[in-house]
Every structure is written in C-alpha cells, then in structure tokens.
C-alpha cells in the first residue's frame, strides 16, 4: 500500500534527536537499578571518606594560644568560672566537678547554641533553653535534645594558675 500523499517528510534535525518527547523521561527498571547501585557506591565512598576524615584529620586537638584563665584555689568544689577562649566570641566554663578535678568546656550548647550553666547539685551542665543536660566529667549529653558533647578546653596548671591551651572538638 502506497504512503499517503500528505505525509510530511522527516526533518533533518530528527536524525540528531531520535527520541520522542513522550519517551524522554521514561526510565526502565534496569536503568533505575543501575542508578541506585551507582548511588550506593557513592554513599559507600562517602562513608569511607567520613571515616578517614574522622580518623586522621579531626581527632587532632586544635592547638590554641596558652591563656591564663584563673586560679585553681579560687574555684571550690562545685564552683565554676566563666571565661572566653580562644577569642572573646567563644564563651567557656571552667568548673570543679564532684571528683575534685578541674575541667573546662565550651559554654555553647551543641543543640542550638544557648549558654550552658553548671548545676553542681547534679554534677552536670544544664542548657535552660531546651532542658539539655551534659555530664560535667566528660561533657557528653545525658538528657534533652543535645546529641553531641560539649567541646572540651584543654587545661594546664602552673602552680595555682590555670591555663587554657587548646580546644578538642
């Protein structure tokens, strides 16, 4: 049977764009499986990258300037002292925990950056904004919304003088 007379000839550009518009967004199951497996490879690679970064790059404590922050004799058991380290925009807290040891942490809550305060009765740090609690001995979250521990300030004692010497993330 002969072709109808009114059939339009195929334009030349069609050779370069052979896929019809309706088929342009069509994805077969095979393509989806390949795409998902590629995504799986990327996710596995990113997980390995995160592990490598955590193992060899972020575990090193951040060195900082050595700054005198107070005298140990001025902080009684259960007492605390506020200071700023390493810059004036970084509030920190030095406290004497129940075990008698001095420890210092960033005062910025790891949830939404409110200032934490020391609660010596419970030997913990408390964030009043969202009722978050942190252990005074380790800085780890013990209650409320925070999931990450407070950054610890490394301390050095010279006689009675306490120096801040760096920040561990």
């Amino acid at each position: 049977m002969a072709a109808p007379q009114d059939e339009k000839p195929v334009p030349r550009w069609r050779e370069d764009f052979p896929i019809a518009w309706e088929r342009d967004h069509y994805i077969s199951r095979r393509e989806l499986v390949k795409f998902l497996t590629l995504g799986s490879a990327l996710l596995a690679g990113m997980s390995v990258l995160v592990a490598v970064v955590g193992r060899w790059f972020l575990r090193r404590p951040r060195e900082g300037p050595s700054v005198p922050i107070g005298k140990a004799s001025e902080i009684p058991p259960g007492g605390s002292l506020l200071f700023r380290y390493p810059t004036d925009d970084d509030p920190c807290i030095l406290l004497r925990a129940r075990d008698g040891k001095l420890r210092a942490y960033s005062q910025v809550c790891t949830h939404l950056s409110c200032a934490v305060i020391h609660r010596p009765q419970r030997d913990r740090l408390f964030c009043p904004c969202h009722q978050g609690w942190f252990d005074a001995a380790s800085g780890s979250p013990t209650g409320g919304p925070p999931t990450r521990r407070l950054p610890r300030i490394r301390l050095r004692a010279e006689g009675d003088e306490i120096f801040a010497e760096g920040k561990d993330l």
Binding site: V33, S40, V50, A51, T147
Partner: protein, 92 residues
C-alpha cells in the same frame, strides 16, 4: 550434551520472570540504599560528636551493602544477557 529447549528455559528464565525479578531487585536495592543513607547520616553525626570509634564500622557496613547491591545488579544483568543469548540462539 546439549539440553532441550524446555530445560534451557527453566535454567535461563523467561521474560515474564524478568519483570518480578527486576521489581524485587529494585525494592531490595532501594531498601539497602536507604540503610546506607541512614548509616552516612549517623556517621556524620558521630563525627561531629567526636565519637570516631563508630566511623569505620559504619563505613565497612556501607561497603558491604554496596557489594550486595553490586551483586544484585550483576545478577540482573546476567539474567538479561542469558535471555538475549537464548533468543539469539533460537533466532539462529
């Protein structure tokens, strides 16, 4: 010894078996990818929290899930290839 066409069909599978096979593999791989996403999110959270001890187990688990996904993909591709070979043999 050359097997009969009926036996070969049962060994290779049919195009009708391909549809549920690929659907099942899609669902399986999708589920494993979601688990990998969760692992990555948990690893990032642990990294920011300073709990670096869990990072390598999470990476290893993610790598194992990827290997499972790659195995499923290879199985699906082999299924396709066997079907093509069978059709080619039947045509010839």
């Amino acid at each position: 010894m050359r097997s009969s066409p009926k036996e070969r069909t049962s060994e290779v599978g049919t195009p009708r078996q391909g549809l549920p096979l690929f659907t099942a593999i899609c669902v399986l791989i999708g589920t494993l990818v979601v688990i990998q996403l969760w692992l990555l999110a948990a690893a990032l959270d642990a990294l920011l929290g300073g709990h670096t001890a869990v990072l390598f187990p999470a990476a290893a688990a993610s790598a194992v899930l990827f290997l499972v996904n790659a195995g499923l993909l290879l199985h699906a591709l082999n299924f396709d290839r066997r079907l093509r070979d069978r059709d080619h043999d039947a045509g010839a």
